[in-house]
């Protein structure tokens, strides 16, 4: 995998809002994103084309996250794909057993809902081993943000100068 080719992430969650949110956060951070509504869809997606990482909810109808994870572990190549668990059930009766079993044997990193976008992105980077690349990946975004912050408090003269400078370029 080279710098030019972005990482591909598969988000598995039954809630549309959650999928939309996580997809946006990852795309903004420069990732390519696929989504699946449940374990079965996720399996189809993985078999079509293996992602670099799976972001996985645990409790879903039809085929649960835990089952999907077990299926993944059975396949020699697919079992190497890192999995980040994103769940609201880490500690309740519905998800506890699955969760404990999976964190013991597998990924070791999980996020408990609700997740903030920055901690989500950094957890995924950390799993992919690309922590240092954050600045590079996010440069323009960060500058744009800083600029916006400065602009929002700037007086008219400063704004005029800044606009002129940008136009010159």
């Amino acid at each position: 995998m080279t710098d030019t080719k972005p990482y591909r992430i598969l988000i598995v969650d039954d809630e549309a809002d959650v999928r939309d949110y996580l997809r946006m956060a990852l795309e903004d951070a420069g990732f390519v994103v696929e989504t699946a509504e449940d374990g079965l869809e996720a399996m189809e997606s993985v078999q079509r084309s293996a992602p670099d990482l799976v972001s996985l909810d645990l409790v879903m109808p039809r085929h649960s996250g835990a089952k999907f994870y077990h299926d993944l572990q059975k396949d020699k190549t697919l079992s190497k794909i890192p999995v980040l668990i994103v769940t609201g059930h880490a500690r309740d009766e519905m998800g506890k057993n699955d969760f404990n079993e999976m964190t013991m044997s597998g990924p070791g990193i999980y996020l408990e809902k609700p997740v903030r976008h920055d901690s989500y992105v950094s957890a995924i980077r950390s799993l992919l081993g690309i922590q240092g690349a954050e600045d590079h990946m996010n440069d323009s975004e960060r500058l744009r943000g800083e600029l916006a912050a400065v602009l929002s408090t700037a007086d008219t003269g400063t704004l005029q100068r800044a606009l002129d400078a940008l136009k010159k370029k």
Partner: protein, 612 residues
């Protein structure tokens, strides 16, 4: 007085004495001829003049073989002899003869005076007595003052064995010395009858139970010379008594130790048995039994009503008794008429204290409710986490949209925020309605009509989702006490789930059937869909948590509410499902419990709501 006159006096006296004595008197000479006889003699034996004694008294022609007179003429000593002869009517007679020698002046026995008295009657009495003694239907025996058995009847020999002149205590009790308490000793002392119950030994060695009566045999001045004892055999009776005692002990122990209260009345309605459990239940501490009137205040009236036991039995399942302290105690009450053949002996009540059971039921309910609260809180937390996740997402989109001046992104961010705020509102509403609920009001309802009405409401909505909704009504389904509104909520929830599941079939052809039927005293509502089905982990959790598989659509409270209402009807709900093959949700309402809940609706003790 002159010797002349003296001799005359003697003669006169002798003659009149001869006539007056209450004996048959005859004077017999050495040739056995009767030379004199008084009137009594002649009346008894007949004419005697110029006849011999054997002719007159025995109607024989020769002197008797064993003649007492002959010896007397030789030795001159008086004799007493028992004789059998013939009276003047030719009847055989027994008599006792007192024979006195009469001396002539030379000292020879010239005559014998025979004074006889009839003993025929005495002999027959003796015979009667002997016969009685033998015939008396129990052992009888006579003992002398030494306590030797001198006479015993056959029954005695059968019972105790042959006495053989042994002591009574040897024969009857195989003892070596006199008994400590002895009726014979008392009778010897006071010449009265004495009775006692004795335990002796049968001839065969087994214990002999008998009642002995000692009666005195009196002999003139000597006092009690003998005691006659009659023993009435009561071995069998005492055996029966022991058996009866055993049986009685057996049942008394049962009654005494029964954990159920037992109260029994005799045929006139007076209390005869109030066992310890009944005493405890009724808080009756008096050692006396309660009176009939007092008992009436405590027991259900049906127990005393004359016509209340048509088949000799009475069952009252939800009733209370009133204790001595005026406390109402819920019990299960059953009563039975006591009979022996056609004879009415009384009635008995069996009372089971239901307080502990009610308490346990309440505690179980509380425990279940607490567990449900725990699960609900956990489920609620999860639902809230998802809502927060949606809000987080909305905020991110609005924030990032603003920094990029991306209006579209801001709009969808706002929409996401609105959606999740709406869902929060919905959750709170659902949650409140679940938590508060309302008391079910059970009224007679036709389950089939209820089912028809609900399906009529939803058939069009189902068709919009390309799902065919149909009815399958049991013909034998009868009216039941139901909270129609609550039950409608339940069935509607299940139908709506089923329709959603059936609508998800990729291949179409979704179907949902609402079925009613009766099964072993239970009323069943079933919602059968051919949708995606659920795997068992989902079906296990489906009623206990805020479980939703409907993405944005549900809050997950529907099934929880359904279960609550069904439970308030005394029923239960379960699900059969195979992933990919649809599911059957079944509401099962035992009719007995429906009726009980309907009956007790007015009793505040039964209501168990409002804890959550």
């Amino acid at each position: 007085m002159t010797p002349q006159s003296q001799s005359e006096l003697d003669q006169l006296l002798g003659r009149s004495m001869f006539e007056v004595v209450p004996f048959n008197v005859a004077v017999i000479d050495r040739d056995f001829s009767i030379v004199a006889g008084n009137t009594n003699f002649e009346e008894y034996f007949g004419p005697w003049r110029n006849r011999s004694c054997y002719e007159v008294c025995k109607h024989t022609s020769r002197p008797c073989e064993r003649c007492a007179l002959r010896a007397m003429f030789i030795d001159g000593r008086p004799r007493v002899s028992e004789e059998t002869g013939v009276d003047r009517h030719g009847r055989t007679r027994h008599y006792v003869a007192h024979l006195v020698p009469l001396m002539d002046p030379t000292g020879h026995v010239a005559h014998v005076m025979a004074m006889t008295t009839d003993s025929t009657e005495t002999r027959s009495w003796k015979r009667e007595y002997d016969r009685l003694f033998e015939r008396v239907p129990c052992p009888a025996f006579v003992i002398d003052r030494e306590y030797r058995v001198i006479q015993a009847n056959d029954k005695f020999r059968e019972f105790f064995g042959i006495p053989d002149g042994r002591f009574c205590y040897e024969v009857c009790k195989r003892g070596k010395s006199r008994c400590r308490s002895c009726t014979a000793a008392l009778t010897f002392a006071d010449a009265r009858d004495h009775v006692a119950t004795e335990v002796g030994v049968h001839q065969d060695g087994s214990p002999a139970h008998y009642v002995v009566t000692s009666s005195p045999v009196l002999r003139g001045h000597e006092g009690v010379s003998h005691v006659i004892q009659i023993a009435a055999d009561i071995s069998e009776i005492s055996q029966l008594e022991r058996e009866l005692r055993k049986t009685q002990d057996y049942y008394e122990t049962l009654i005494h130790n029964s954990p159920s209260g037992i109260i029994a009345l005799d045929s006139s309605g007076d209390p005869k048995v109030v066992n310890p459990a009944a005493r405890a239940l009724l808080e009756w501490t008096d050692s006396q039994l309660p009176t009939a009137a007092r008992l009436k205040e405590m027991m259900p009236v049906q127990f005393f009503a004359s016509g209340a036991m048509p088949e000799g039995k009475l069952q009252l399942s939800e009733i209370s008794v009133s204790s001595a302290q005026q406390q109402e105690i819920p019990v299960r009450f059953s009563a039975v008429e006591l009979r022996s053949g056609r004879q009415h002996l009384g009635r008995a009540a069996f009372i089971e204290d239901l307080r502990e059971i009610k308490q346990l039921e309440q505690e179980k309910l509380d425990t279940e409710r607490l567990a449900a609260v725990g699960q609900t809180v956990a489920g609620l937390a999860h639902t809230i986490k998802n809502l927060l996740m949606g809000l987080e997402g909305g905020m991110y989109m609005v924030d990032s949209g603003m920094s990029r001046s991306d209006a579209a992104r801001i709009t969808s961010g706002w929409q996401m925020l609105q959606r999740n705020i709406e869902k929060t509102t919905g959750l709170v509403k659902d949650f409140l309605s679940f938590a508060k609920g309302r008391l079910p009001e059970l009224r007679p309802t036709d389950p089939n009509k209820l089912a028809r009405d609900i399906v009529a409401l939803y058939v069009d909505a189902a068709r919009l989702q390309r799902v065919e909704l149909s009815l399958n009504l049991g013909a034998d389904v009868k009216v039941a006490p139901l909270d129609a509104q609550g039950m409608e909520t339940c069935i509607t929830n299940l139908l709506s789930n089923g329709i959603d599941a059936a609508a998800m079939r990729a291949e179409g052809g979704g179907e949902v059937i609402l079925r009613t039927r009766e099964q072993a005293g239970d009323l069943l509502f079933e919602v059968i869909d051919n949708g995606c089905g659920m795997d068992c982990e989902v079906s296990r959790k489906v009623f206990t948590t805020f479980f939703t598989t409907k993405g944005n659509k549900g809050t997950g409270l529907g099934l929880l509410t359904t279960r609550k209402i069904v439970q308030e009807h005394g029923g239960r709900i379960d699900v059969e499902s195979t992933p990919g093959q649809g599911a059957t949700f079944r509401i099962r309402l035992p009719r007995e419990r429906l009726q009980a809940i309907a009956n007790s609706a007015s009793e505040p003790a039964i209501s168990s709501h409002g804890a959550m």
